[in-house]
């Protein structure tokens, strides 16, 4: 309802107020903000600028609270628009700049370009044409790689205007033509009537160069654009006015002053102050030319009044100029006012220029500081990364080295194990040999002893078969006794065979004994070796035996190298549920805790633990050492 054009302005205002009351009761959610935007738009449409501003500020507040960047940006845009419309250029500049910063952070180049365009317009309005030119070029830079035709058109068209102001007519023409090129690509809606705008601008450019004929041609082609009046009545009015003025200059007064009045009527209805002022000045000039001083003064006065009432200071000047022209009597008074306003305008321009650049400078400084911070952070990150990388390198190299060492160790152990296996095998051979000898001996015993005796007994009993006398019976008893002895002998041999196992009982024991024997010739200390015969070595895992053997080797290596012992006691003992190996010496000893786990000790530990056993070390400097290994069985 509030947006309905057909309803009276008063009614619409009431509806809008009601809408605001409803909206403000809602929580600060996205819907509430959307509705506020709608309300703001209503106010803008109804030209209720103060309410528009109030709503926009409310939106800024809400958006900040809700951390809603998109709404915040939009609200800033609304506020900026408000200040532009109110001609309060420094505030507009500030909000526009806020907006630009946010868009830069969001890397939204198109919107940054839009902000830059607004800035350029503000700069232009304040007469800062050089600054304006710079801004437009920055904007074009932002638009690089972007297919935004509209923005590009605006930029070129605006450059045309700026160069026209700077009297760079050739450049101005060049950029207007570029603008026309873009329009001719037909990527922009015709409704905006951009072609007519630029054609009109070109006309003005030629008028500035006093080439009114060419100017008129451009104005005529501008007015020939389709639907110009319906789409953009303000531009239509402007072009009409320009045609009239060009014709006036060329002395072609056929349609005058109707053309001026037509333009003024449209401008009046649209309330375009600038246009109204211009139309009045043109009319004043026309009537002055026609010597109708009264009408000339009237229109000049109209222009002056409208400009004054609307605070269009800049437009007061041409009005004053016209007044002094048409009213020579008051010329002095007008001139004094003219120069006063002109001076203050120039001062204001300088001030605003300074203000603009100050706003930018402060921000730039902020940006610089931020850059510096970012730079510092970057340096920190690089250093950190460097350190981490270095750390990783060191770690990798170390682990690699450790792995290599481990592999080497493993290989060595493998080799040692193989050697021991080999030793066991040769030992096995020796044992086999001994066993063979033993077998031979037993065979011999059987053969020569038992068989012989049995043979003898059988033979004798055979003889006695023939006689049954007393003597023979006695002899037979003798031979039966003999058979008993043979039994006994067989039992003995059988026992021998049985005990052969234990006699050659285990090659491990043999191996260890051989090792100890060998050590005896190398080691300066006296070695006392005890092997508990109760240990059933056959029942023990080969790996465990190899480990015991290696431990012995390792221990003797240490003893030979460092201990300077007089006595070494090596004892294998059978405990309740384990086998214990003790290696005790009365040498120099060592501090087990201080001495960083010697490779020998750690090797021994690894070996016994790998077989599921434990190792304890007891040693003190000067008091020898006792290594105890316990293997559960």
């Amino acid at each position: 309802m509030a947006n309905n054009d057909s309803i009276s302005l008063g009614r619409r205002k009431v509806y809008t107020k009601k809408a605001i009351a409803v909206i403000s009761k809602r929580e600060n959610d996205s819907l509430r903000r959307v509705n506020y935007f709608k309300v703001a738009n209503r106010y803008y449409n109804m030209n209720e600028m103060e309410d528009y501003k109030k709503t926009s500020f409310l939106l800024v507040q809400n958006s900040i609270e809700a951390k809603d960047t998109i709404s915040l940006v939009k609200a800033y845009g609304y506020i900026s628009d408000y200040y532009v419309s109110k001609n309060i250029s420094d505030s507009a500049y500030i909000y526009n700049f806020e907006l630009q910063k946010i868009y830069t952070l969001l890397k939204d180049n198109v919107n940054v370009a839009k902000c830059l365009l607004n800035k350029a317009i503000l700069q232009h309005n304040e007469g800062d044409f050089l600054g304006c030119e710079r801004t437009v070029f920055t904007m074009l830079k932002k638009l690089r790689n972007k297919n935004n035709y509209e923005m590009r058109y605006e930029a070129y068209n605006f450059l045309g205007i700026v160069y026209a102001e700077l009297a760079e007519y050739k450049l101005s023409k060049e950029y207007y033509e570029k603008a026309l090129e873009i329009v001719n690509m037909k990527q922009i809606s015709m409704k905006y009537q951009l072609k007519a705008t630029t054609l009109n601008n070109l006309g003005i450019l030629y008028r500035k160069q006093k080439k009114d004929k060419q100017a008129l041609n451009f104005f005529n082609s501008a007015i020939a654009e389709n639907n110009l009046y319906n789409d953009m009545p303000n531009i239509y009015a402007m072009v009409k006015d320009n045609i009239g003025y060009s014709k006036f200059k060329l002395g072609n007064h056929n349609e005058l002053p109707n053309l001026f009045f037509e333009a003024l009527k449209i401008r009046d209805s649209l309330n375009i102050t600038e246009g109204i002022i211009l139309s009045n000045i043109h009319l004043s000039e026309y009537y002055a030319f026609k010597k109708d001083t009264l009408k000339a003064i009237e229109h000049a006065n109209n222009a002056y009044k409208v400009a004054k009432d609307n605070n269009e200071v800049r437009d007061v000047l041409p009005a004053l100029k016209q007044l002094s022209n048409v009213e020579p009597k008051k010329a002095l008074q007008y001139s004094v006012e003219y120069y006063k306003i002109d001076d203050s305008l120039k001062l204001a321009e300088r001030k605003i220029k300074n203000k603009f650049s100050r706003i930018e400078y402060e921000t730039e400084e902020l940006v610089l500081e931020k850059d510096k911070l970012i730079e510092q952070r970057k340096t920190l990150i690089y250093i950190g990364l460097g350190i981490i990388l270095l750390g990783v390198f060191v770690y990798v190299i170390r682990t690699q080295a450790a792995r290599n060492r481990e592999l080497q160790l493993l290989q060595e152990q493998q080799q040692a194990n193989e050697e021991i296996y080999q030793l066991m095998l040769t030992q096995q051979d020796k044992i086999e040999e001994v066993r063979q000898l033993e077998k031979k001996r037993i065979a011999q015993d059987l053969h020569d002893g038992i068989l012989g005796k049995l043979f003898g007994t059988r033979l004798n009993l055979g003889i006695l078969n023939n006689s049954n006398d007393e003597e023979a019976a006695e002899s037979r008893n003798g031979y039966i006794e003999q058979l008993k002895t043979i039994e006994q002998e067989i039992r003995e041999i059988s026992h021998d065979l049985n005990s052969e196992k234990t006699a050659i009982f285990n090659n491990f024991v043999l191996m260890v004994s051989n090792f100890i024997e060998n050590q005896q010739s190398v080691c300066k200390a006296e070695i006392h070796f005890t092997m508990d015969p109760l240990i059933d070595w056959n029942g023990i895992d080969n790996m465990a035996k190899i480990n015991f053997y290696r431990i012995l080797q390792e221990a003797f290596q240490n003893i030979n190298k460092y201990a300077e012992a007089k006595n070494v006691f090596v004892t294998f003992a059978k405990l309740n549920s384990s086998i214990e190996l003790q290696i005790k010496d009365d040498g120099l000893g060592f501090n087990y805790l201080k001495k960083k786990k010697g490779i020998g000790l750690s090797n021994m530990n690894t070996r016994i633990t790998s077989s599921g056993g434990t190792m304890t070390v007891a040693s003190e400097v000067g008091k020898g050492a006792l290594l105890t290994f316990e293997l559960p069985v």
Partner: protein, 154 residues
């Protein structure tokens, strides 16, 4: 007048020597008087042969006897060789527990014993039979030996 037979017996089991004696005790008492000489080892056997005042007519030699390295006597075979050298007329019985073919061949080649007996074949009767056979100038091979030779010839 009974014929005197000088008999040498070598076996490391006195027991067996006794058995031989007992067996031959009853051998044709009217015709022969058997005079025995015992030895229980390579050494005693060697001495018995080397120092004998008489030539032995018959010898019972066990092959497996304790050796006598001084005189290179390893077994009964070496004693047999000595006998062949010293008393070529002596009829030799080789007695053994072994039953290996190769050994028999070796005996035949070197000693050509008049009697070759595997002890396992021997009984009281068989011993008397063998003794008689050899005395009469024939050769005697015990049952196992004959089988072995048969097998070899097949």
């Amino acid at each position: 007048m009974k014929q005197i037979i000088q008999l040498l017996m070598v076996d490391d089991h006195p027991f067996i020597l006794q058995a031989y004696k007992n067996t031959l005790n009853g051998f044709k008492k009217e015709e022969y008087e058997i005079v025995t000489t015992d030895a229980v080892s390579g050494e005693t056997g060697y001495n018995a042969i080397a120092n004998s005042l008489v030539d032995f007519d018959v010898a019972f030699l066990d092959i497996s006897i304790p050796s006598y390295p001084d005189k290179d006597i390893e077994s009964g075979v070496d004693l047999a060789l000595l006998l062949r050298e010293k008393m070529p007329n002596c009829k030799i019985f080789l007695l053994t527990m072994h039953t290996e073919k190769l050994k028999f061949n070796y005996f035949f080649d070197t000693i050509k014993p008049e009697g070759l007996i595997v002890k396992n074949d021997l009984t009281f009767e068989e011993l008397i039979f063998a003794f008689e056979k050899v005395l009469s100038g024939e050769n005697y091979l015990s049952e196992t030996v004959i089988k072995m030779i048969d097998n070899q010839n097949q």
